[in-house]
């Protein structure tokens, strides 16, 4: 383990930025979100939950896929070059890191999504333990430890020192390049970090959702959950916006669209989509998910039932709590899971 004092952080950012495009939590307009680092960036390492998850780093909101050129009856396709720029994300919280493992299951499964993989492989992730978890946090529900965030490197912020520990080869390589800035941590330091870890876990348990558990039974009762009567009550007030899906670190629905330019030039791109959108499953002759209820149900079935069914009980949720914070009508996965559990007596 290494450490680096606050005074030297600007140098650290600079050094990291030399190794690749650096993203870190920045305070802009009173809101903290990941942003490319620049000299005047106001880095915010205290806010636990950034406005959006970092998924767009690997799963871009808009990803150009290919360019077509048509002329007469001829069609030529030029695939988009894969991104090759190394990137470094600093200050990623345990929940978001866990989110990547969930996205990996989808995008790295055969056939691999090469755009995702390229971005993923090009990136070194530096985790940061959550000094101040918030009332919307419930990562412990999924056995995610906010006190040991994981990543290629994981870090802790204790008072004015940042503690630094490589966890992967990629992490070690990067750490080696920063040798001049990092100093070896002492046993004393290790104790400080441990103490912080304990405190984080304690704080989490005191939070309103600190003891929340999602029942693994849900995934075992697909039909019963699907047919539960609570969907109607729960979905009645959903506005069908897709805010929750866009801030969610695990939601990964996408659309492939064409943009026709002039003279036969066509850009095909992928963009985020949401199962909450009315036209998501609409076909020329009907829509299997006719209404709000069906769309709402799909989203939560996917997170609470289908995904765990497919992936050994893993919920497609990491407890970051962003959906709790942004829903215009305060609907969220916690409320849904609780209602379902009550309804199904699980």
């Amino acid at each position: 383990m290494f450490k680096i004092a606050k005074a030297k952080w600007p140098e650290l950012w600079q050094a990291l930025a030399r190794e690749g495009q650096l993203y870190l939590p920045a305070l802009v307009d009173g809101k903290t979100d990941f942003a490319p680092w620049q000299k005047d960036t106001k880095v915010d390492l205290l806010t636990a939950v950034t406005a959006k998850s970092l998924k767009q780093l690997f799963f871009a909101q808009v990803e150009p896929l290919m360019h077509f050129q048509t002329s007469g009856k001829k069609v030529a396709v030029t695939p988009q070059e894969l991104p090759a720029q190394p990137t470094i994300a600093f200050g990623v919280r345990a929940c978001d890191l866990a989110g990547f493992t969930i996205l990996d299951k989808v995008f790295l499964k055969e056939p691999v999504d090469t755009f995702y993989r390229a971005r993923r492989e090009n990136c070194t992730l530096i985790g940061l333990a959550c000094g101040f978890p918030e009332e919307t946090c419930f990562c412990q529900t999924f056995n995610i430890d906010a006190a040991s965030p994981a990543g290629d490197i994981q870090t802790w912020l204790v008072w004015d020192n940042l503690y630094w520990e490589s966890r992967t080869g990629k992490g070690q390589q990067l750490t080696a390049k920063l040798a001049a800035l990092l100093t070896e941590a002492t046993a004393e330091d290790a104790k400080l970090v441990q103490a912080q870890q304990t405190k984080i876990r304690e704080t989490l348990s005191k939070l309103p959702l600190g003891r929340l558990r999602f029942s693994p039974e849900l995934a075992k009762h697909e039909q019963e959950v699907f047919n539960s009567k609570v969907w109607e009550k729960l979905s009645a007030t959903c506005l069908s916006c897709c805010g929750c899906t866009y801030v969610c670190p695990t939601c990964h629905c996408y659309d492939v669209r064409d943009y026709a330019g002039k003279d036969g030039a066509v850009e095909r791109f992928r963009c985020w989509d949401s199962c909450m959108n009315g036209d998501f499953t609409k076909m020329a002759h009907g829509n299997p998910r006719k209404g709000q209820l069906e769309r709402f149900r799909q989203r939560y079935m996917h997170k609470l039932v289908y995904f765990p069914e497919d992936y050994e009980g893993t919920f497609a949720c990491v407890g970051c709590g962003r959906c709790l914070r942004i829903c215009p009508v305060n609907l969220n996965i916690v409320k849904v899971a609780k209602e379902l559990e009550v309804d199904l007596h699980v």
Binding site: H67, Y259, G261, K262, A265, V266, E267
Partner: protein, 156 residues
């Protein structure tokens, strides 16, 4: 051809001069007839202006105008009958309100509102039509290419 030769010579000497793309929406009854009048009277105006015929100025959806800018127009001009003279009686009154609000909003968003103009041209005002178009093209040429509302996808 002579014209082509000149263009080629220009290219080697200096970058081609900026030729703005101007879309003019003209109502069938007054302004389009006015444009025809300009032609009949052989009133010259720049070739940059391309006219789209609509039945009435009130057929022009602000979306069309935005789309024109998005697709690369440097200027858009909407022409209709003089207020009170609309073939459909009230069409241009609505146009006037719609475009007033659109102009004001574009201005509010810092988009050059000189790039959008609304003019009332009657069927008998052929000469005026040519004058308006000439001055508009001059104005847009002076402003240069529109970059603010342009969509740059497929721009290769």
């Amino acid at each position: 051809m002579l014209g082509e030769k000149v263009t080629v010579a220009d290219k080697t000497a200096a970058p081609a001069p900026f030729e703005p793309k101007i879309v003019a929406f003209c109502c069938n009854w007054c302004s389009y007839a006015g444009a025809d009048g300009a032609g009949t009277a052989r009133k010259q105006y720049p070739a940059n202006v391309k006219i789209i015929r609509v039945p009435c100025s009130c057929r022009v959806n602000p979306l069309f105008i935005l789309r024109a800018f998005q697709r690369g127009a440097d200027g858009v001009i909407l022409c209709g009958c003089h207020p009170g003279d609309c073939h459909y009686m009230t069409g241009n009154y609505y146009t006037r309100r719609r475009l007033t609000l659109l102009m004001s909003m574009l201005n509010f968003m810092g988009v050059a509102t000189e790039r959008l103009r609304v003019e009332w041209v009657s069927a008998s005002e052929g000469a005026r039509f040519a004058e308006i178009m000439t001055s508009f093209v001059e104005q847009i040429t002076a402003l240069g290419a529109n970059v603010k509302l342009r969509d740059l996808r497929c721009k290769k």
